[in-house]
Amino acid sequence: MPSAPAGPTAQPTADKNRPTSPADLDAIKVYLVGKSNELKRATAELKTLADRYYDAAAVTNFDYAALWSSQKDDVVKLVQDARAAWMNASPLYEQMEGIVAGTPSLAEYDVILDAGASKEEGGDNVVPFDLTLPDGRVIEKPGNLFGVSESALWGTFTDFTAQGIVADFDGDGQVEFSEALPDAHVLKAAADELDRYAGELLAAAQQWEPTESDAFTALVVMVPTMEEYFASWRDSRFVKGDQSTQRDFVAISRLADIQDILASLQVVHAGVSPLIRTVDASQDAQIEKQLAELKAFVADVHRQEQSGKRFTPEEADLLGKEAQDRATAITGQIAQMAAKLNIKLEQ
């Protein structure tokens, strides 16, 4: 297991000498700590359920066919409970992702928990850890922990799924999407690590002393990531259906995640809004309005999806472009305000 990223200490910033800032940075920290606490409770619940599933599988010596035939109802319930716990935990993280991923001193947790790629996927954002399973196997750089646990729970990746078993959950004679049992070792290891890192994130959030630079950087880094989120939505089951080969984002539509992320960024904006108003009140009002409109735009698309509309990939692409254009316009305005306030945006 990797050593945990240490909680941040004092933050060097360009604005530390600003005498008294009208920005309400404490509100951002209070929000982050509150969400981190909720996340920790939710991941502990998931860990408990993963442990129970693991213990049940251990009884049959991880013979999943035997497990299925002997305890089918219990196993189905356990998996469904674990899925529900995951679906409770994941949005809690999304609701603070805007702050975590956008703050350089916390951003590593975003890679570990929610955004990091696997070794196979490669690129610049590969997770910094290997996953050691209870049976001693090691999965090198498996991808982010929400993704690993989601793939295991919903059976979207064979390596993380129990082998040698046809798990027809609803007994309709067909094995449909998500009718699969997780590999208990993978699920337990991922849930354990998820809970551990959630605890570390909580500790880091408690130690974090937000600065104006942190807040502006979070806004400028995270607001314009819309196109990436929409692209993962476009390629997910929610748009492509069975043609999708995406392993994660199968349980919750990415559109819900985007709204959660934007909500956290609205909290950040509210924190720095008094400061922006000191240089340009109308610009601040416009940023606030456009952030709300962007969130409403995504919510509207999500509502349509929930009412049964299936968007085509091209429509999803167009919507993503529009969200990105709006986000880029907002980011540009925020960057102008940061420059006027002489606040450094961290790289």
């Binding site: 990797p2 050593s3 945990a4 990223p5 240490a6 909680g7 941040p8 200490t9 060097p12 360009a14 350089p104 001193s105 590593e108 890679v111 610049d124 590969v126 910094p128 850890f129 750089k141 880091a204 400028v220 880094v221 607001v223 314009p224 109308s282 610009q283 416009q286 309005k289 456009q290 409109e293 409403a296 735009f297 919510a299 509207d300 990939p313 091209e314 429509e315 692409d317 167009l318 919507l319 472009k321 529009e322 990105q324 254009d325 709006r326 880029t328 316009a329 980011t331 540009g332 305005q333 960057a335 102008q336 940061a338 420059a339 006027k340 945006l345 961290e346 790289q347």
Partner: protein
């Protein structure tokens, strides 16, 4: 639709017309809403279209005034959009929408620049928000130059011409980035077979180019501009039908190759040239580390090679126009070698085939030689700004390696960054911004104050967050140093720089040499001057050879600087301790007592050792500073040329020799007793300073621990000249050295008195 509803609410509740920025966003968003609702919800689409027209009505007046032709284009585009909507043609609507939007952006550009030119700051201020921005990424932030320039103009802090220049540069640079992004989107949409998105992207590209066309024509002439217009029109036609898009794209890309809408300033061109050459030199180094026996052994090294390659390629693209104007043939050859290198690196990255490191090196060398011929002479001088850029890139790679848990590679990237610092800006920092030198070194190595250095963190496999923390502190110091170095590129500044370095580095050596040589003035020990002179001369020759050897290999040796200095300093201290002891117990004794006959035997017995010791002292005293001086002077030579550096160094050397002669003359005039006391004090002083500096160097490279004394601060010059830094180890060692010197003196006196008593007693 939410947007339509929100916009309607906004228009009904606000009596005042919306600001241009807000109206423009409403126009753009409404047109997108029409596109989305076109097929399934014609009513909502119609409402959004009306909304778009209303939004434009609020914008039209200033456009008509400053850019009437653009006003006409927007109106035509909106009419076309409406017609496409009536026909239900999504693709045609997407094209008209893109044209309306980019025309509005063009109009805003003309309004802002026209208003600034006309002194109408209020209109410029209102219209500047009608713009797009470069897309922010994790590594790049949107530009704010135009906003700041307009602010400065409003405050009277800048001239309209300078403000206009900044506005042009910011906006043109932004729209060129958007043009490139539109072309990339077009390729993606074509690959995904999204017809409306494909046509929209082509229309956006055409619209963005219209904003840049003036700059294009200015740089390339009307004929090429007309050709580019035709190619973009052809690209749009291809995008509408879906036929031959890649070929049409390739033609457009070719016609735009090397074009830079916001021309780089002279200083920026030199900086980009510096980056290009530095990045290119690093490509074969990283590639060679990642490949062994025909296969990739370390992925990350190949990725680092790719990063450096991309940096060099981007700089080449920015400068290609200039290169082509100088020698189009060579520019084409360079471009071809860039392509070959790219293939080598891409193939290795994808494990498709691995070129031999020697081949990659040969290609890089050939490219560097070719580019050196293309680069104007005035750019060839080293540029500190480019050094700082390369340092930042190498440190980024260090962070990426730490993120992956690859600490060995992280250390290699850190050393790479340090080597660039040491072989470039450090010489200037030493002379012009010395207050940053120790802090920067500390953060690079084993720490400064309460913060651990990068070397220590990597050695301990510290988590990324800690590494990032130190990196941010280092970045802040580097930025301050870079700011402090501005204006230090002139020949006078570089010559002064060289002189100061020679003076400061040479002073310690000359102090000790002059003092000792002056003390060897009796017939009995005058011969001892010779080994010291020989040693000093040998060190000067060695320093000169080092200077020559460092030519072209500066960065390879730069990282050794501190370690070599520490080793030679230790030798110098060792010899100096012996000399101190010998001085108080031997020369002092003999000179004071004039007891030559009694000691003669002893001196003869120890003659070989004394000769070697003094020779070594002469050598080590000079060479311990000689290596670093050679390194710094070589770095300055790259920046200012050998002649300028040599003039400065010679001036510094004259001062050093003059000080040496002055000390020598002063001491020669003193009565022997006073001379010996002064010499003893000088040796003691030099020893204490040398111990302090050596302790500091050893702390920098992590050979001894570093315990900061928080309550104690010294001004930076104090550390620089006296080797005294607020660390427990450094101060303790300096104290021990001082105690040794004073102890030696009192011990010698004690022995001397005892001997006197014994002599008197026996007499």
């Amino acid at each position: 639709m939410v947007l339509v509803a929100a916009a309607t609410r906004a228009s009904s509740t606000h009596a005042a017309p919306p600001a241009p920025g807000e109206a423009a966003q409403t126009l753009r968003a409404s047109l997108v809403q029409v596109q989305i609702a076109l097929r399934n919800n014609p009513r909502a689409a119609q409402a959004a279209l009306t909304q778009a027209r209303e939004a434009y009505a609020a914008l039209a007046d200033p456009l008509r005034h400053y850019a009437p032709e653009v006003d006409e284009t927007v109106r035509t585009a909106l009419t076309d959009a409406e017609a496409a909507f009536r026909r239900g043609e999504a693709t045609a609507f997407a094209v008209a929408r893109a044209r309306a939007w980019t025309s509005l952006l063009h109009g805003s550009y003309l309004v802002v620049t026209g208003a600034v030119g006309a002194g109408d700051i209020a209109t410029a201020y209102n219209w500047l928000p009608v713009r797009e921005f470069r897309r922010a990424t994790r590594f790049a932030r949107p530009n704010a130059d135009a906003t700041l320039a307009l602010d400065a103009l409003a405050r009277g802090a800048t001239e309209p011409r300078a403000a206009l220049q900044a506005i042009h540069a910011d906006l043109l640079d932004t729209y060129q980035a958007r043009l490139n992004a539109a072309l990339a989107d077009l390729a993606t949409a074509d690959a995904r077979r999204f017809p409306a998105r494909r046509a929209e992207s082509a229309a956006l590209a055409k619209g963005y180019f219209a904003i840049l066309a003036g700059a294009f024509e200015e740089q390339r002439g009307a004929a090429q501009r007309a050709q580019a217009d035709e190619l973009l029109e052809a690209l749009l036609a291809s995008a509408l039908t879906g036929d031959g898009v890649p070929a049409a794209m390739a033609q457009v890309t070719d016609s735009l190759r090397g074009f830079r809408a916001a021309p780089l300033s002279e200083a920026e061109q030199a900086r980009r040239a510096g980056q290009m050459m530095r990045y290119l030199r690093l490509v074969p180094i990283e590639y060679g580390r990642g490949v062994r026996d025909g296969r990739v052994t370390i992925d990350l090294e190949i990725r680092e090679a790719a990063t450096f390659y991309e940096g060099a390629q981007a700089a080449f693209d920015d400068l290609r126009n200039i290169f082509e104007a100088r020698d189009s043939n060579k520019a084409a050859q360079a471009a071809a070698i860039f392509d070959l290198l790219k293939r080598d690196i891409t193939d290795a990255g994808e494990q498709r085939g691995v070129a031999a490191p020697e081949d990659v090196r040969a290609r890089s060398d050939r490219l560097i030689a070719l580019l050196a011929e293309l680069i104007p002479a005035e750019w060839s001088t080293q540029n500190s700004a480019a050094d700082f850029d390369v340092i930042a890139t190498a440190l980024d790679q260090m962070e990426q390696a730490v993120a992956r848990g690859e600490y060995g590679l992280a250390e290699s990237a850190r050393v790479e960054a340090y080597a660039v610092l040491e072989s470039g800006p450090e010489a200037k920092i030493t002379a012009f911004a010395p207050q940053f030198k120790n802090t920067i070194e500390g953060y690079f190595w084993f720490g400064h104050g309460d913060h651990k250095g990068l070397a220590a963190l990597i050695q301990q496999k510290a988590p990324l967050s800690e590494v990032r923390m130190t990196r941010r502190l280092l970045d802040a110091e580097l930025a301050l140093a870079q700011e402090a170095l501005k204006g230090s590129d002139s020949p006078v500044a570089i010559a002064t720089n060289s002189g100061i370095i020679v003076l400061r580095e040479g002073l310690e050596a000359v102090l000790i040499l002059a003092a000792l040589v002056a003390s060897f003035r009796t017939a009995a020990n005058r011969h001892l001057r010779r080994p010291m002179w020989i040693g000093a001369l040998l060190a000067l020759i060695a320093s000169l050879l080092t200077w020559l050897a460092l030519r072209g290999t500066l960065s390879l040796f730069a990282s050794l600087g501190e370690k070599l200095e520490a080793i030679v300093s230790l030798v110098a201290i060792g010899v100096l301790l012996l000399i101190t002891n010998w001085f108080f117990h031997d020369v002092y004794w003999k000179g004071w007592m004039a007891n030559f006959h009694k000691q003669k035997q002893h001196i003869i017995k120890g003659a070989t050792g004394q000769f070697a010791g003094l020779l070594l002292l002469g050598f080590a005293s000079v060479y311990r500073e000689g290596f670093e001086t050679a390194l710094f002077l070589q770095a300055l030579t790259l920046e200012g040329g050998a002649a300028v550096v040599l003039v400065g160094a010679a001036a510094g050397m004259v001062l050093v020799v003059a000080i040496g002669l002055a000390i020598f003359a002063l001491q020669a005039r003193l009565p022997i007793m006073k001379m010996l006391i002064v010499t003893g004090m000088l040796i003691g002083f030099v020893l204490v300073v040398m111990v302090g500096n050596t302790a500091h160097t050893m702390q920098v490279v992590g050979w001894i621990p570093l315990t900061p004394i928080r309550w104690l601060t010294f001004p930076h010059w104090f550390g620089l000249w006296f080797g005294t830094y607020p660390t427990a180890e450094g101060l303790a060692l300096q104290f021990a050295a001082a105690a040794f010197v004073i102890g030696s003196y009192f011990l010698a006196q004690h022995l001397h008195k005892r001997r006197l008593r014994l002599t008197t007693h026996s007499a």
